[in-house]
């Protein structure tokens, strides 16, 4: 007990920091979210104005857009990450580290730099469109009326661009948990499945996939939660065509000083995320690994 108390004391600085930086803003947020914003004046109290606004069709649509963009991002991260994780497990340690570095490298540069780089690739004057112009693909598409006269292939300033830019950044959050799960599978388990007659497909379906589910669930949860907070990428790569809840919240605060509504929206976002975590825990418990 004594040792326990002493180690509790060691936790104190972290605890204070946690209280100041996490709990306090959260409390402020909650209090503000029940405030009222009228003629640019914020009054505290117990009002549901912000929450009611959230359920107006315009904002609800933005919420679902954000939700589905997050689902796409999670889905594409998953199907891109799985082969990478499998490869990392198969190759020699040296090769593995190289792949690992490539996967993590997006985290080493600023998100703005990364997304701007994509503009050079995907934009109307980007590499891909220049190439498409060069081989005449764009002219053909213009003649067919599939793309507008002045634009190239619509690779950004739309949901596609946002999803692509985000998948690139969030890939490591999917690859790493899946890789961890995969490398926890004893190779002899897969060997015995093959020994019992499982083809490569059957082996994947019946053994590798179910045994990697903990990592898959963890990765999907992480990427989904991160995507729900998407702000920078849609601003840079969405070209005013993609609006997410965090963009709305920023706008409310920055342009209109409407803290109560912004706080209510934030709380709704928080609830969505908590619900995601809850579902993820239920799923984790249901897989029998």
């Amino acid at each position: 007990m004594k040792a326990n108390k002493r180690s509790m004391t060691l936790l104190l600085p972290a605890l204070v920091l946690y209280l100041i930086t996490f709990t306090a803003p959260l409390v402020v947020l909650l209090v503000l979210s029940f405030g009222r914003f009228d003629k640019s004046i914020t009054t505290l109290g117990f009002h549901l104005d912000g929450y009611i606004k959230f359920f107006e069709p315009t904002y609800l649509r933005v919420f679902f857009d954000t939700f589905f963009i997050s689902v796409y991002i999670t889905f594409f991260c998953l199907i891109l990450s799985f082969p990478v994780a499998i490869l990392m497990r198969r190759v020699q340690p040296f090769m593995k580290n190289i792949i690992l570095f490539c996967v993590i490298s997006p985290l080493l540069t600023s998100i703005i730099v990364r997304n701007s780089a994509w503009m050079l690739v995907l934009g109307n004057q980007g590499i891909i469109n220049q190439f498409a112009d060069y081989i005449g693909l764009n002219d053909v598409l213009r003649d067919m009326g599939l793309i507008s006269r002045f634009a190239g292939l619509p690779l950004m300033n739309n949901v596609f661009g946002v999803v692509l830019g985000t998948v690139h950044v969030y890939l490591p959050f999917m690859v790493l948990p899946i890789y961890a799960s995969l490398s926890a599978i004893n190779p002899s388990i897969e060997e015995s499945a093959r020994n019992l007659g499982a083809s490569s497909m059957q082996l994947f379906r019946n053994i590798t996939w179910p045994l990697s589910l903990p990592g898959v669930i963890a990765g999907c949860t992480l990427v989904f939660i991160l995507s729900m907070g998407l702000y920078v990428t849609p601003v840079i790569m969405g070209g005013n065509k993609v609006v997410t809840i965090p963009m709305i919240i920023t706008g409310l605060v920055r342009d209109r000083y409407n803290w109560p509504t912004a706080s209510a929206f934030s709380v709704m976002l928080l609830i969505t995320i908590l619900f995601t975590v809850y579902v993820s825990r239920l799923l984790q418990r249901s897989v029998k690994v």
């Binding site: 004893n186 002899s188 388990i189 060997e191 015995s192 499945a193 093959r194 020994n195 019992l196 007659g197 499982a198 083809s199 059957q202 019946n206 053994i207 179910p210 045994l211 897989v287 029998k288 690994v289």
Partner: protein, 359 residues
């Protein structure tokens, strides 16, 4: 039908030779044990049969069919791992029927064969358990049932009892052997435990540094080891320098540890100073009288059913001697003088070939 043949099979890992030029035929229904110290190539040999390791050269046959290049999942070979390798996310029933499911066998037949298989390994009633809810011995049996339900041509077991405690191991040995005889399935069993090999096998194949040193029945390898390595590996041994002091016809007279013995001359003996093997239980200690070889007891250890002595003969050689503890045996104490009673038939002249031909 399901005999298994290795034909000049070798496997190299870079410069390292794991298995060198293995020629071996396991006949139909035979229980053959691969025995040898760690790293001698036992697992590699098994993995070549199951298809997870490709031989560098040579071919492997089941019956008359060359399976060297057949995919592992198409080989119809049962394989039991030391760590059981059960599927942790499946129940016992799902584990055992896994192979049938992969082969798309009908549900009804799966059920009947599952019942049969579980009965065979005495696991009825545990169908719905998860592997983590089973004891080591039970997991082992699930692994066995999972392989046997597919009625494989050949069963391969890689140190299947390594993770069990001694009592359970003894029990499982007897049970596995009985099952193997009942099913008549061709079996290769891998172990580095010579007791296990002796008690279960029809034949033992002893390997060292990737080379087969001897193949024979347990009695053959124990009584007439092909070299010193095997003599030492198979149980306790006294390997002693002997001098040939006379010969006449088919007999030679040798002096060993102060005793003079007349033994059958082996055809391969070409040295005047051969090494001979005398097992400790073939020497008995008698009260010191008459003209026999004298020795002094320098150590005595009591093991319940037997006693182990270390004795030093008059020419300075140390021998170990084991004696059953029964009333009729003379039981000298430490420091006592004794007479060594060695039966001539107990002396085996070791072939002079080097113990193991290192690559």
């Amino acid at each position: 039908m399901s005999k298994l043949t290795f034909e000049n099979v070798s496997r190299y890992y870079g410069e390292t030779c794991a298995v060198a030029d293995l020629n071996l035929t396991v006949s139909d229904g035979e229980f053959l044990t691969l025995l040898g110290p760690s790293g001698c190539g036992k697992t590699t040999s098994l993995r070549m049969v199951s298809g997870f390791v490709e031989p560098t050269s040579g071919r492997i046959f089941i019956g008359d069919a060359d399976i060297t290049n057949v995919l592992p999942e198409k080989r119809s070979i049962g394989l039991v791992f030391q760590n059981y390798a059960l599927f942790p996310h499946m129940t016992v029933g799902e584990n055992v029927t896994f192979g049938l499911k992969m082969a798309k066998v009908g549900k009804a037949e799966q059920e009947t064969r599952l019942k049969e298989a579980l009965k065979l390994v005495q696991l009825e009633g545990l169908v719905d358990r998860m592997p983590r809810e089973l004891s080591g011995g039970q997991q082992q049996r699930v692994a066995l049932a999972r392989s046997l339900i597919l009625r494989p041509n050949v069963l391969l077991l890689d140190e299947p009892f390594g993770a069990l405690d001694k009592q359970l191991r003894d029990y499982m040995r007897a049970e596995l052997r009985a099952l193997q005889i009942e099913l008549g399935i061709t079996t290769i069993f891998v172990t580095h435990d010579q007791d296990e090999a002796m008690s279960m096998s029809d034949r033992i194949c002893i390997m060292n540094h990737g080379h087969v040193n001897q193949i024979g029945t347990p009695e053959e390898v124990y009584r007439t080891p092909a070299n010193k390595f095997i003599a030492e590996f198979m149980g306790q041994s006294n390997i002693l320098p002997a001098n040939i002091v006379g010969s006449g016809g088919k007999m030679v007279t040798i002096r060993v540890a102060g005793a003079t013995l007349e033994i059958d001359a082996p055809s391969y003996m070409d040295s005047e100073q051969p090494e001979v093997l005398i097992r400790p239980e073939r020497i008995s200690l008698q009260p010191p009288k008459g003209t026999g070889a004298k020795a002094k007891v320098i150590d005595k250890q009591y093991f319940g059913s037997l006693i182990e002595y270390a004795v030093e003969s008059q020419d300075g050689t140390t021998l170990s001697v084991t004696a059953a503890t029964n009333n009729s045996n003379h039981e000298p104490s430490e420091g006592d003088m004794v007479m060594l009673d060695i039966d001539a038939s107990a002396v085996f002249v070791l072939p002079q070939r080097e113990a193991s031909h290192r690559p």
